[in-house]
Symmetry: C2
DNA sequence: GACGTCATGTAATCGGTTACATGATTAA
DNA sequence: TTAATCATGTAACCGATTACATGACGTC
């Protein structure tokens, strides 16, 4: 069974502990969203596929009248997860509209360049603020992963914001 | 007329100088690919749309029997490009499978973590090598843009590779 | 003559987002 | 009682990739 990108996030989340589709969405929004987003439109269909493939198992856990299906990873799922983690290939895709604009801003003028640099810097500062908010939560996780990856995100956006600032200074001086 | 992401790359490229769809593909593969990729499947249909919208203009420039359409940006296209550059919104999407794997690798074991870190480091080193190859070309561009953005890419992947190395060392010591 | 590059295009498929719909529970 | 949250789902749409197809030109 081939895992889709959303399938991998789901399988990984369920390897930590059993949860519902709603929980997965909430957790990814708080954690992997910065480098691997997932939407409801993909989560629920994917949960069904994974269950059909025997990688996860759903149990009905209604709370009162409210239905709720909690999924747990199966041994086969854990094997599949390990297989994926073992593959050396790592997709790395960046879609940075700020860089794209900067790439072209020179054909117009200095004003445009500075404006784009400021926008990009502010966007990174805003992301930094969000990451700092969730840091205490990530820090409370014992196992390797969440906290380290969050640290990567912090350093990355700090670098990006500083780079914009440096370019702005260079621009002013020229 | 709303510009698609591929439409923007095309419009930006044509603002530098007139060229064919093939040229655009070749140029993006050498430059924006690292933060904004484009494929033939999108380029040719998008060229037609942009031409219909009056943002670019195609001229037949066959070479012998080989057909060739060279597109040039129109004044309306330049206006649209400037409008896009002026928008403060900047999409920033990262799909980093290495980070995703690291996020989950802790539920398995130390061996998996180290392997993922090594794979990620090597991927960044490989990208660095590619970026260094195209640096002379980017450096030869007079206007602001290509060289600065390439510098960003170099610094980014250097940071990423070093981060992996640091985590590997921390892992060995623990 | 074969291979690499120039050059243009399309069809199938896939994955993802957005928007919408439904309804229960809980806290203000 | 009303808003926020919990919870599940689907349909429409969009954009992008992949693979394929065609054919001319240059050069070894």
């Amino acid at each position: 069974m081939k895992l889709s990108s959303t399938g991998r996030v789901i399988l990984g989340m369920l390897a930590v502990e059993p949860m519902s589709g709603y929980d997965i969405k909430a957790l990814t929004d708080l954690s992997t969203r910065f480098f691997w987003a997932a939407s409801y439109g993909q989560i629920y269909p994917e949960l069904k596929k994974l269950a059909e493939g025997g990688l996860i198992e759903g149990t009905e856990r209604p709370q009162g009248e409210r239905r709720r299906t909690v999924y747990a990873i199966t041994p086969a799922g854990r094997k599949e997860l390990a297989a994926w983690l073992g593959e050396p290939e790592l997709t790395h895709e960046l879609r940075d509209e700020g860089l794209l604009k900067l790439f072209f801003a020179g054909v117009l003028g200095k004003g445009e360049i500075a404006a784009v640099l400021e926008d990009k810097r502010d966007a990174h500062l805003a992301t930094l603020a969000q990451l700092r908010e969730i840091e205490p939560m990530a820090a409370s996780v014992e196992r390797f992963g969440p906290h380290e990856v969050l640290g990567y995100g912090l350093a990355l956006h700090e670098f990006a914001a500083e780079w914009c600032e440096r370019q702005l200074n260079r621009l002013k001086e020229s």
